[in-house]
């Protein structure tokens, strides 16, 4: 934003050119080319074949539907958890607080496969809660609740991580003001807290949704790979690929990739809003001690 013509000039030096070429080549080779090839392969037999691969295969249809169900449920759980956790961590001081914050990050550092296995160890037939669940006739592993659990686990930190710094930057004063004006806890949340964190929350939701849609490892372990029952989109892509049905596999992959691009656009838009709001916050702080002539002059 603050770049001057001079900066552009230095970029044309031999070293600058070398670096730019390197960067463009890396991004092109690692990101653009593979992504483009997904779409090229998906449409290699024409849009008609692409559509048939998606819509006329009942197992693929089910996989798309399952992904579009599991991901929103997981994201919803994470949104509720994330808001509550961020509120707790940003607004209260209590023993074990920093331990709790570190625990939020466990899903980021643990391999998704390990997370899936851990869920099997607890909810599986031989698992800790296995007998109890069996007696209640509730199936978790190799069924959709397992998929929701695994997806929720891997996306758990995303919303909370987005909200905590934003809520800490905003501070509790507006909420206290609302309370002193007679607002109940819910009124404070809906009228003051939520509007203030809405862009950060949306950002977290978009990130969590992208991760939830694309999750493979943890879901792979708990799903049992039952076509037409527990295959999500990423699992379906892999299965079709293993069955040498590359165009069909690429068709599903192209849907995932399109979702990813959509996420990217949404993310950029939301980040602009966030940026604008944080600048507003800063401006508000800076002008707290302003010398605006309108204050001194008016009305007296």
């Amino acid at each position: 934003m603050t770049s001057k013509p001079r900066d552009a000039a230095t970029a044309t030096s031999p070293l600058g050119l070398l670096l730019i070429t390197g960067a463009v080549a890396t991004v092109g080779l690692l990101i653009v080319a593979p992504l483009a090839s997904v779409f090229v392969d998906a449409f290699s037999n024409g849009p008609q074949a692409w559509w048939e691969a998606l819509a006329h295969d009942p197992d693929t249809r089910h996989a798309i539907w399952l992904s579009l169900t599991v991901a929103p449920i997981a994201v919803l759980i994470n949104t509720i958890f994330g808001v509550a956790a961020a509120w707790l961590v940003a607004r209260f001081r209590f023993p074990g607080r920093s331990l709790l914050v570190s625990l939020f990050d466990v899903p980021f550092s643990v391999s998704p496969v390990v997370a899936g296995l851990a869920l099997v160890l607890i909810f599986g037939r031989q698992g800790l809660l296995g007998p109890t669940l069996a007696s209640l006739a509730v199936k978790v592993i190799f069924a959709w609740p397992g998929l929701v659990l695994a997806t929720t686990f891997v996306t758990l930190p995303l919303v909370a991580r987005e909200l905590i710094p934003v809520m800490e930057a905003i501070g509790p004063e507006e909420e206290l003001a609302a309370v002193s004006l007679g607002a109940s806890g819910w009124q404070v949340f809906w009228r003051v807290t939520l509007p203030n964190i809405r862009w950060a929350l949306l950002h977290g939701i978009v990130l969590a949704n992208a991760r939830a849609m694309g999750e493979f490892g943890a879901v792979y372990v708990v799903s049992g790979h039952i076509a037409g029952a527990t295959d999500t989109m990423p699992l379906r892509v892999e299965k079709l690929f293993q069955e040498y049905r590359t165009p069909a596999s690429m068709a599903v992959a192209s849907v995932l990739a399109a979702l990813a691009l959509l996420t990217l656009v949404a993310k950029v838009f939301i980040e602009r809003q966030l940026e604008a709001e944080s600048q507003e916050l800063e401006a508000a702080r800076a002008t707290s001690a302003d010398t605006d002539p309108t204050t001194g002059g008016d009305g007296s």
Binding site: E174, L176, R191, A284
Partner: protein
């Protein structure tokens, strides 16, 4: 609405913010809580508002114990130090908030908000966002918002702290007029003695979670009850002297001090305010003056401060004169002068008991 604070104690971890503080605020008073940061004044204000809970002690409103009443039900107007305006709401919605959460009818809300915006001289700015206002305007929105719920008490935390000097003085006078108009019991916190003395009916000086002194501004200024108050009100020369037989001695200069008639001499701290000292070129007859040398003069508007070095050594001494008088004296650095105290305060250290 009168407020009574009765033996309130509050600790944050090992830090004692308030230590058995008791305070009466009669109906209609404009009272200032004055003290340095960490003196507990803001904590006390927040406890009165119900935003903090006391560890022990009681808060009463018109004789009713409200210690356990939630902030939501206290009907207290609270103006935060940095205003805490709802940033995503317009000025109008900020002021309307308290009535909206009470589900007041729309027409009533509109009428009341418009009335308040007129009162704080912000009519026509209702659709602006807080970020589009100047500091002084935000301050007045915060005030209008607090008044909208028809509070029974108004509490202000450092209301003018974040404003520049000119706006501060104007808002101060405006708030005083407003208080005289609506006559609501008002408590405000400040670390600025000028603000406290100009605005308040009564001043409560706090330090280390205790009330050091309470009184009308003149009383507190003229008769500081403790060395802390004397120091905090600032601008004072402090010396170690002694008291003996109804007299205090400062650099050997005796000053009447009838409070200590005893024959046994005791060390004491002698406080002299710069504007209560006279300075002359020639020593007056008698023993009531101190010889000193002028070091420098600094003029700040109507007052000129002369810094002197007492002849017998010891720290520098400040004398404040009206600038006109200083010009007449026409002192230069190195000039010999005599300093005559017109008024002095003496504080004895707490007696030490030997067992």
């Amino acid at each position: 609405m009168s407020i009574r604070v009765d033996g309130v104690t509050k600790s944050f971890g090992t830090f004692k913010a308030l230590d058995h503080v008791s305070l009466d605020v009669p109906q209609g008073t404009l009272l200032a809580l004055l003290g340095p940061s960490g003196s507990g004044k803001t904590t006390l204000l927040r406890i009165i508002a119900g935003l903090e809970w006391p560890d022990s002690g009681r808060i009463e409103e018109d004789g009713t114990d409200i210690t356990d009443r939630h902030a939501r039900q206290r009907e207290v107007g609270f103006v935060f130090q940095h205003y805490a305006l709802f940033r995503h709401m317009s000025v109008f919605e900020n002021v309307a908030f308290g009535m909206r959460v009470r589900k007041a009818p729309k027409t009533e809300v509109r009428a009341r908000v418009e009335e308040l915006l007129r009162l704080v001289r912000l009519e026509g700015l209702g659709s602006r966002k807080p970020a589009q206002l100047s500091g002084g305007q935000r301050q007045r929105v915060a005030l209008a918002r607090a008044l909208a719920i028809r509070p029974r008490i108004l509490l202000l935390d450092e209301p003018f702290g974040a404003l520049d000097a000119k706006v501060r003085v104007e808002l101060r006078q405006w708030l005083r007029r407003l208080h005289d108009e609506i006559g609501m019991t008002t408590v405000f916190v400040t670390h600025d003695q000028e603000e406290a003395f100009e605005l308040a009916d009564e001043v409560v000086v706090m330090n280390h979670g205790r009330v050091e002194q309470r009184g009308k501004p003149d009383e507190v200024f003229d008769k500081p009850a403790t060395p802390f108050v004397m120091d905090f009100l600032g601008n004072v020369n402090v010396y170690h002297g002694r008291v003996e037989k109804g007299r205090a001695f400062w650099h050997g200069v005796p000053i009447d001090y009838p409070d200590y008639p005893h024959a046994q001499a005791r060390p004491a701290r002698v406080y002299l305010r710069p504007h209560e000292l006279d300075i002359t070129r020639t020593a007056p007859a008698g023993e009531g003056s101190l010889a000193a040398t002028v070091i420098r003069q600094t003029r700040t508007g109507p007052i000129t401060r002369i810094t002197c070095q007492p002849g017998e050594g010891g720290g520098e001494l400040h004398v404040d004169l009206p600038s006109a008088a200083a010009r007449e004296l026409d002192l230069r650095s190195g000039d010999a002068v005599s300093i005559i105290p017109r008024h002095v305060r003496v504080f004895l250290p707490a007696p030490e008991y030997v067992i």
